[in-house]
Assembly symmetry: C2
Homo-oligomer: 93 residues x 2
């Protein structure tokens, strides 16, 4: 079944599903800066719009345009920033 | 703001947003066959998985794998079918 997730007062929302035993979410990030922790490693793919991300507070922001992906290690976390509403696919690896 | 939409007893759900004055939704379709009517023309892009679609009841089903898109005329409708949970981006044109 589909699971509707809402974070940061609804500014980040996603729909969780599973295919071939793999968990994924399709979501949208509204303008703002957010921190997410990871349990499993994740791959984030920008589906519409553009995200900025950094793996640590000290790192420079990297811009990920539509169609590009970045991966996050398990048991860690990342900061993500959207200037305009942006859709993404998150795969749990 | 983000709008959470749920159709067909939650088997199709989407998150609606707007960028550059254009409405879009990021959504997920669970296994099944569904009919959607359109008001504005739409472009559907398969983000994860695979969809089958046909524009009329008489038409053959066409398979749209991940990364491919199809467009639907305004003031019409289409049938869509998913074998496994599939994520999509819908742009209102």
């Amino acid at each position: 079944m589909l699971k509707h997730n809402s974070y940061f007062d609804g500014k980040v929302q996603s729909l969780g599903f599973e295919r071939n035993g793999r968990k994924q979410t399709a979501g949208v990030i509204l303008p703002g800066e957010f921190h997410f922790g990871t349990d499993a490693p994740e791959r984030m793919t920008v589906v519409s719009g553009e995200l900025l991300a950094r793996m640590t507070k000290d790192a420079a922001w990297v811009t990920y345009p539509m169609g590009s992906s970045f991966e996050i290690a398990g048991k860690s976390g990342f900061d993500v920033k959207a200037i305009a509403p942006t859709a993404y696919l998150c795969e749990f690896l």
